[in-house]
Symmetry: C2
Subunit: 450 residues, 2 copies
């Protein structure tokens, strides 16, 4: 059996490795236009920050290791067409520009996502960047070393991780975000607190222009020198990183007749099968089901890509495994602040048709007398009718993310507010208060529900 995988970062690399383990006799090939396979894209902000020196540490499995385990890696190979009737793809060698047909028994599309670039990106400027692949990360780090002032366009989680990286390197940062607050995947009562924390803990290096967009980049032949915003602000900059979101890389699939979902990503069933026989898709290019709302969503994340790659590999090689969906669980760090969420925000819950009720409380993460005690702020969202917990958001310099992961398991089984109160969470003074913030929040939510 010949298994062809298009894309080799998280989902593609995982599919290849798992498929070869499941079916050692199979011929497994990865085709990628990239220079690298199997690397931690999520780790690039920490490489840029200087948390570790050598970008090779981001490589999870080298090409040599893949080859040694019998998986064939074809880098700098652009797949230009899928011919499902013939069970073939056409591949162009980026260097030689030569074309070839490659046959498959099973095809796995793991093309990932591409940056959603605003109009000013189509420019001649060499100091304007996006952060998608490893080469981008290396280029941004090199440019950062020479820059004094960096502009970030967009305020999602990669943007915040880059703010941390640049501040750590003592760079001035101006972030331009079109929404009223950065991190719009959080409710505004939470994201406004995050934004304040960043501004107050940035060594006076960070400015956030929210509710504004970049109108124009002004520069000479090669380099941007000034940024002008829609509200009329103008400032000098040494480099610009555009992080205004991504879209699923589906052009190839769409052209081959593969059905896309309403989010614009590839529609697959729980076995990661597309509508075409023997064609699977996984990772950032596919649509997922939100297990709380049961609605299709597109949330590209490395953790999900890995899980989908595993499920695709099992099914491709003749096994049976299902991928049930996602909860929108996310975590990020800004210096000492942990920021995380799972399930639906209050806004998302209302949009999904729930009668949402919520509570926001701040409490210590450990016993008050412990020297390392910090605060955590937790927002818990429930459905007024069923009392079902719909989601949690937590921020704090203490252990915020562990509370969110705890809730996430409850979401898998539609836990109610009353059931969450019965939780028996571990307690010792260095780890929590005797009544954990999660239980306190559930108790308050119960009173609110009456």
């Amino acid at each position: 059996m010949k298994i062809i995988i298009i894309g080799g970062v998280a989902a593609g690399a995982k599919t290849a490795a798992k498929a070869k383990r499941m079916l050692p006799d199979a011929e497994v090939h990865i085709y990628t236009k990239d220079n690298y396979v199997s690397y931690s894209a999520c780790g690039m902000p920490y490489y840029i920050a200087g948390d570790f020196r050598d970008w090779h540490m981001l490589l999870i499995r080298s090409i040599e290791e893949f080859e040694k385990s019998g998986i064939h890696i074809h880098i700098r190979q652009l797949v230009t067409k899928i011919l499902p009737a013939d069970k073939k793809i056409t591949v162009k060698d980026i260097d030689s520009e030569q074309w070839q047909f490659v046959e498959y028994d099973k095809l796995v599309i793991a093309t990932g996502a591409v940056a959603l670039n605003p109009p000013f990106m189509e420019s001649r400027y060499t100091n304007v960047f996006t952060l998608r692949n490893l080469d981008d990360g290396i280029a941004i780090k090199n440019a950062m070393d020479k820059a004094k002032h960096i502009t970030i366009v967009g305020g999602g989680y990669i943007a915040v991780e880059l703010v941390e990286a640049f501040v750590k390197n003592k760079k001035k940062v101006t972030l331009v975000e079109k929404a009223p607050f950065i991190l719009s995947m959080f409710d505004e009562d939470i994201s406004s607190v995050i934004q304040d924390y960043i501004l107050e803990n940035s060594d006076s290096l960070v400015k956030i222009l929210s509710g504004d967009t970049v109108a124009e980049l002004v520069g000479d032949e090669n380099s941007v020198k000034d940024v002008i915003t829609s509200k009329g602000y103008g400032f000098e900059t040494d480099m610009v990183v555009v992080s205004t979101g991504v879209r699923p890389a589906v052009d190839l699939a769409k052209e081959a007749g593969i059905i896309l979902g309403q989010t614009g990503a590839i529609k697959v069933n729980s076995r990661m099968e597309t509508n075409l026989p023997d064609v699977y898709a996984c990772g950032d290019c596919v649509e997922k089901i939100n297990m709380v709302s049961n609605l299709p969503v597109w949330i590209p994340l490395g953790s999900t890509a890995n899980k989908e790659g595993r499920v695709a590999a099992i099914n491709v090689t003749g096994g049976v495994e299902d991928f049930e969906g996602v909860l929108g669980s996310t975590v990020l760090r800004y210096r000492d602040l942990n920021i995380s969420r799972t399930g639906l925000t209050e806004k998302e819950a209302v949009q999904a048709g729930f009668d949402a009720v919520s509570v926001v409380i701040t409490k210590r993460d450990k016993a008050g007398y412990m020297p390392e005690v910090k605060n955590v702020t937790l927002k818990l969202v429930a459905d007024r009718r069923s009392h079902r917990i719909l989601g949690a958001q937590a921020i704090g310099c203490g252990d915020a993310d562990k509370r969110v992961n705890t809730v996430s398991i409850g979401l898998l089984q539609s836990i109610t507010v009353e059931e969450l109160i019965d939780a028996d969470l571990t307690y010792a003074p260095p780890f929590s208060t005797s009544i954990d913030i999660l239980i306190s929040a559930a108790q308050i939510l119960k009173s609110k529900l009456g």
Copy 2:
């Protein structure tokens, strides 16, 4: 309505505060033989360690604060009898030795637990201690300051917390534990690793004599000078702390005709009612239900005591609230090592009649390239027939406890191995690997189950 509460540490203090909030017109009294109420007993090892200087920080609510909120506190008052037919108790003032009757409409027994003292405790020695109340903690700290070598008898979690405290203060410690390994609430494949870690990270100050007991304490008129063990070891010591477990303080209740459960603790229903009308019990003196095995257990913990106090208060004041049970969730720290468990150990699962299957894996707690990455070892136990997860144990210098809390929520709803694989846990390089150890363990367990 007159509510009398016997005992004022965790469960008693919580009951009083909550009852007064629920029913402000009620007359609420706490009677305690202790000198203090409402303090964090769990915090005493950290006070002894010197993590904070002032033991008053352990007081959660002062007597003045209670009185201000209309709750009457009677310290140094020993309740000697419950007369349920008359709805009265008899109380002896420890200082004046005077007796009085006190009437109640509702009585709440929160007498806690008492140390299980081995025979050699009945001695004249002033340098032999147990750690139960605040005065004990203060006395141990004062004695520790003058000691060079300390003997700990017993190897439960308080013993381990004391080892940490003494090592932090550069004291030599010899711990005598009758079982083959300390921390017998863990399976031996886990507790043996913990024991090794302690020995290897004790600045050569700690010796553990396991599989041995104290046969004799030898000393002069007032002080122990030497310890002799059953295996014949003898060594000099400056002080001894006995931490060989506790038993529920039920003598008062038993004498009044209150039914005890098979664990020897007071039997209550989910509303914290005893068999006697208008007599409730909560905290360390009551038996609990293990929500995994549905068997009665006696696990005295501050977190449970607080929850039971809340439930007792709601029911005492005319509301309706149930306490469903416990999961045996526990966490402790030895220096950088986090140690935690929830649900059943493999041994407990077998004893409870399950066909237990388990996996033990070690994995990084964060992305491998992050500077603060550490290992976590996780043991996951499931039932072979139903595939239901029965419990988890985690140890590691990384975030071990958060994995255990995550499992604990699943235990509330009898999560299966397959369902746990669907968990969508938060991922970012500073917080976890892209496939968290919990998911990896569940995947391996699934293969084992076939």
